[in-house]
Symmetry: C2
Subunit: 447 residues, 2 copies
């Protein structure tokens, strides 16, 4: 059991500052833990309430008659250090402090954070936050954050920024990919990205780590942690503060040094982390890494119903340093024989606007054992029902990644997209986004 | 009246190949024209039916007792040239040939296309297509394409690719921006991008032109048409086939030469067209251009509830060659006085996770007359109700563009987003996409 298990896998959780008022964080957090179906015991703590959401409410944490592993704290900053002291005396080993008003506001907040950390350390406990958006472990129903996410899956989200974390959680939930762990680190007064990477490297539920980073105070340890984690599972990382303007904003956001963009780039490259440029690319890459193994090489087969989308895919493939797979004479002649006359037999294989799902099936069938193809971009650029079933079937039969773009398909697209989401199979809104996700998948290969 | 008005603004339309079978193009097209509420007369033509969707059906186009301006044709290619001959004898001046099976399939298709064009030209008529996804003019309810789009707005979509056109139409419809004209040009046997640009330059309903281009056979005329059109209204263009792989795919898609990427880039730059890299950027830029005038300069004010998102925005601003606005001492001290203690007073202005809509209102109020600010990026990175009302109010009061990103806001975000869509005010899903749209808006300025 890792030392962060008191936080991510507690037997019981106290919500200090639990509230009966919808809209208040102390309400949302307690409600989300209940709604996510937390497996352990839940103790609301609030000096002014006897019951909240049907649960007995305690007036202080020491009043709770049974052991508490984790305390999630949502009370004003000035009360936090003493509350934590009381909690560690009770034996609490894990803290998540959502409340703001610490180092980030300067002045007495700095001293409050110092006292908070001291209390945690003296108790041999660990702390996430303060000034953070909480944690989640959907595998045990512990959604001590917002919005509510319950889908279990392979992606761990680690982020200084609560909004970035919530953006990822929302997407992974909505598109059926799911999360293994979620940690919005906030001020990182105790647990930071290094601790998280080390924990997640050993976490069997985590197969992909998605890390948003503004800076670090532990450069060497970060490098080691990245290397160790990335040697076991893909780590996709977005570094904010890569420009001068961004770096200045980092300094004022969490008081950390953004550091040189070049140094970070080198670190990511050397440790095998996959660094991306935008929030959308970050999400798209995590999605692809959650679903597919990296392709064995750069040779991509494009199958499309839209000639134009196929060209945009070809442009994106070449400009990212991958290439269109060359088809053997044998494969080409089989395609010519078995596909209707209106198809354009090459790569991109253009099934044209007359395409229907069975043609994609046939095209995959004919090409799938071809050694010259490492991966697929499949573009449904029309209202094509049955797209999902074809992809789902072939993903059961091949290890080659098949990245799907669906666009321009009206109501049928909406319906097909829903099926992809339910099954947790990635689908992208444009050819370029599918290609860039494939590119990041390819970059995640070892060696 | 422009010569393409017989196509985009006809008094009457015949749908040749109209069908009673849902799923068939001849059904979908007729249904969409009816459902879009076309103002003129609609004549289904089908030799085997007497009535379709409650309309009297004619067995041939010459049977129609009244004049017909536009014929939308959805019958097998081999019947098309003779049908067009018959129609021009009846006085039809506009044709949209949806059917494929012409030049793009080679062989006898090439000859069919030649005969089609000859018939059109001999009749002094104009033709869009063949092998295309039709046209739309929501201002008169003429949705001779799919999916159904009815929202009137300022954006004209012109595209060789039907899927790209449909992708744009779906987005502009769904996000409440709306279209002025829509033309999926297909094989461009007669009307091409040059004709469309010249027509749209004079079209009072069109304020923005979004052009997807694979290549042209009229380089010099394209340059002139781009220059003329872009001098009157912004033209955003995506050129497919910019790489070797893409250019090869272009050649096999529509038989046009993609041409050198560098030459096209120079043409776009010299003519004042705004060239973009991806389909998503194409849509995002059209959205911004539809709603805002270009900012007067590169100085951007960022207001955010999410520190992390603010940093990502700052990075994107600087890496696109824009800059964070410098705030005057006067503005800074007013912000310090009037905003709560927890706000971080700088640019990006971080209202923090404790933000609520009134703080954005106040921040806009204090900064809006500051000469040093040319535009705004507003980031709602939490569940913040009332975001829409604040933006809507300030857009009525200022000419400075305000580009909004909303993310990480759960159900409240969904609800707010809906309000933006209903009002047709652009909202972006990530800070970077809002910034890139702003950048393209900035590039669209004259001189």
């Amino acid at each position: 059991m890792g030392e962060l298990d008191s936080i991510f896998n507690p037997g019981s959780v106290a919500v200090v500052g639990a509230s009966r008022t919808p809209g208040k964080l102390g309400y949302e957090i307690l409600k989300n833990i209940i709604d996510a179906g937390f497996r352990g015991k839940i103790y609301p703590v609030n000096p002014k309430a006897d019951e909240i959401m049907g649960l007995k409410c305690y007036h202080s944490i020491s009043e709770i008659p049974e052991p508490v592993d984790l305390a999630v704290i949502v009370i004003p900053a000035r009360f936090v250090p003493d509350t934590v002291k009381e909690a560690v005396q009770k034996g609490v080993k894990g803290f998540v402090v959502i409340s703001g008003g610490f180092r980030e506001v300067g002045g007495e907040g700095v001293e409050l954070e110092r006292r908070l950390v001291r209390a945690v350390r003296e108790g041999g406990a660990r702390l996430i936050g303060p000034n953070c958006q909480g944690i989640n472990n959907p595998h045990v129903g512990l959604c001590a954050t917002w919005p509510l996410s319950t889908r279990r899956g392979p992606v761990a989200v680690v982020s200084q920024s609560g909004t970035v974390a919530a953006f990822m959680a929302t997407g992974l939930e909505g598109e059926g990919i799911g999360m293994s762990k979620f940690a919005a680190l906030g001020n990182k007064a105790d647990v930071d990205e290094v601790d998280m990477l080390n924990y997640l490297a050993d976490d069997p539920d985590t197969e992909v780590v998605a890390l948003y980073l503004e800076g670090t105070s532990r450069g060497r340890e970060l490098m080691e942690a990245l290397r160790r984690c990335a040697s076991r599972k893909p780590v996709v990382v977005i570094k904010a503060g890569r420009t001068e303007a961004g770096a200045e904003a980092v300094a004022s956001h969490t008081g950390t040094l953004a550091g040189s963009a070049e140094v970070y780039e080198a670190v990511f490259r050397q440790t095998g982390a996959v660094a991306v440029d935008t929030l959308e690319e970050f999400f798209d890459a995590a999605k692809a890494l959650a679903a597919f193994k990296p392709p064995k090489g750069p040779r991509v087969m494009v199958i499309t119903s839209s000639g134009g989308s196929g060209i945009l895919a070809a442009d994106a493939i070449e400009s990212r340093g991958m290439e269109l797979a060359k088809l053997s004479e044998d494969v080409l002649s089989r395609l010519r024989e078995e596909l209707p006359y209106f198809c354009v037999i090459r790569n991109p294989l253009d099934l044209t606007g007359s395409a229907y799902a069975e043609l994609y099936d046939k095209a995959l069938e004919i090409t799938k054992d071809h050694d010259g193809i490492d991966s697929y971009i499949l573009i449904f650029g029309d209202p094509i029902p049955g797209a999902f079933e074809v992809i789902e079937k072939h993903l059961r039969e091949t290890e080659k990644p098949i990245l799907v773009a669906y666009l321009g398909g009206g109501d049928i697209e909406v319906e097909e997209r829903r099926k992809f989401y339910e099954a947790g199979i990635p689908v992208y809104p444009t050819p370029e986004r599918a290609v860039v996700a494939l590119y990041n998948l390819w970059r995640s290969r070892k060696g």
